[in-house]
């Protein structure tokens, strides 16, 4: 067997475009998904009973079904119910919903580990409920669960490869397009896989650095 990686690499523009899409989708999903996770974690820890139940069902429903099925449901299923979405929007919604559910559980674990004395101390300083949550409970909780959060964000980034199945032009779509032109399937997918590996290593470094710096102090 002979390999011809050059045949794939001449199409580097397609690969580069794919990487940009993968990073873009992941960035948007991370920001919105984490915000959703924080909100849901709050709702699950101290919201009214009905809200807890709604959030709990959402989390379990997402965590116990495959991402590709969620994506197909949103992209193929929802138009039948009158909601038309572009492939990109559908992907972002699916990724946000997915990360949001896992983030809820991760952040909740951190929140539950907060010592009661800290909350009582904060309340005795006349902070209101919102302030207590955002300034006293959340930062140390995020710090505690950050490694798990980073792993989950990477899993979502890797999961975005599936979005090629609804023709979002991200990295694995690019690899598929290239191999359909030159029939160098193995080479194309090896290169795409290595690029994903580099992305996940880079993303882990970036988040490990950015987390303490911007989200929860040293």
């Amino acid at each position: 067997m002979e390999f011809d990686f050059g045949a794939v690499l001449v199409d580097w523009r397609l690969l580069a475009k794919g990487i940009v899409w993968t990073i873009g989708l992941t960035a948007i999903a991370t920001v919105i998904g984490m915000a959703l996770g924080v909100a849901c974690a709050w709702a699950r820890a101290s919201g009214p009973t009905w809200l807890r139940w709604v959030v709990g069902s959402y989390v379990e429903l997402i965590r116990n079904t495959p991402f590709i099925v969620q994506l197909f449901f949103i992209f193929f299923g929802l138009p039948a119910a009158g909601v038309m979405l572009t492939p990109e929007t559908a992907s972002i919604i699916a990724m946000v919903a997915n990360l949001g559910a896992y983030a809820t559980e991760i952040i909740r674990a951190g929140i539950e580990a907060t010592p009661k004395g800290q909350i009582e101390a904060a309340v005795s300083l006349a902070l209101n409920r919102m302030q207590v949550f955002l300034r006293v409970v959340l930062p140390p909780a995020m710090k505690k669960v950050w490694p798990a959060m980073v792993s989950q964000i990477i899993i979502v980034m890797l999961g975005s490869a599936v979005c090629s199945q609804i023709s979002v032009e991200e990295l694995s779509y690019a690899a598929n397009l290239i191999q359909s032109r030159n029939f160098r399937a193995f080479e194309a997918f090896i290169i795409a896989t290595l690029l994903y590996l580099a992305l996940s290593v880079g993303l882990r470094r970036l988040l490990n650095w950015a987390g303490p710096k911007y989200f929860f102090g040293r």
Binding site: L61, N64, T65, V69, F72, G77, A80, S172, Y196
Partner: protein, 217 residues
């Protein structure tokens, strides 16, 4: 064109669910065997082998399962062997599972205190005896919950085998959706069937976890 009732859809999906279950079991058991072997090698062998297996784990955890499936599909074909979707999916999912399980189990073994190794060593137990009588009985207790939890990931992972043409639940859903033009109903049913399969496993994993935490307290 004949009409499909909800029962027709559900019945065909249930037939396809079999293959999701079979593929999950093969990947889980195969992955468990390979993962156990890797764990043994990692505990036994020197630094370079430990590092090599560490790299193996990183490779599978740092790349998309979809790419692994494609690589298995086209990679085995390069070796001149006729590949079916069955072979490719089984190989890829088994290796994927083995990487995760070996890492989970390594963590469990590492959490057994060093004194246990030293004490059993001082009793002149061989490496195999140490594992069998001292380390593994303790490690297995800790490992059960995350291992069962990972089974959910395997079941969900099999959905990606649909992309290389393996007809399991997701692929059957796509095909039925194309035939009936009722994607909303079909994919709702597909999602619910996955949920019915995975949720009990998740609950069981959570139950096991709680049980261990109570024992430790």
């Amino acid at each position: 064109m004949n009409d499909f009732s909800l029962w027709d859809i559900l019945r065909n999906l249930l037939l396809a669910l079999r293959w999701t279950v079979v593929l999950s079991l093969i990947a889980f058991i195969g992955g468990g065997v390979v993962g156990g072997l890797l764990l043994f090698l990692r505990l036994r062998a020197g630094k370079w082998l430990d590092r090599a297996i560490g790299t193996y784990v990183q490779l599978f955890q740092g790349t998309p399962l979809l790419m692994q499936l494609f690589l298995a599909y086209f990679g085995i074909a390069l070796m001149g062997v006729e590949v079916s979707a069955w072979t490719a999916a089984t190989v890829a999912l088994t290796l994927y599972t083995s990487a995760y399980l070996t890492e989970i189990w390594r963590g469990c073994v590492a959490s057994i205190s060093k004194g246990q190794w030293e004490a059993s060593n001082s009793l002149a137990l061989s490496f195999g005896e140490q594992l069998r009588h001292v380390i593994l009985p303790q490690a297995v207790k800790i490992a059960t919950a995350p291992t069962v939890g990972f089974l959910v990931q395997v079941v969900k992972g099999t959905a990606l085998a649909s992309v290389i043409g393996f007809v399991e639940l997701t692929k059957a859903g796509s095909m039925i959706s194309n035939a009936t033009f009722r994607p909303f109903v079909v994919f709702s049913c597909v999602a619910l069937l996955y949920f019915a399969l995975c949720f009990p496993i998740s609950l069981y994993a959570k139950h096991l976890e709680r049980k261990i935490n109570v024992n430790r307290r």
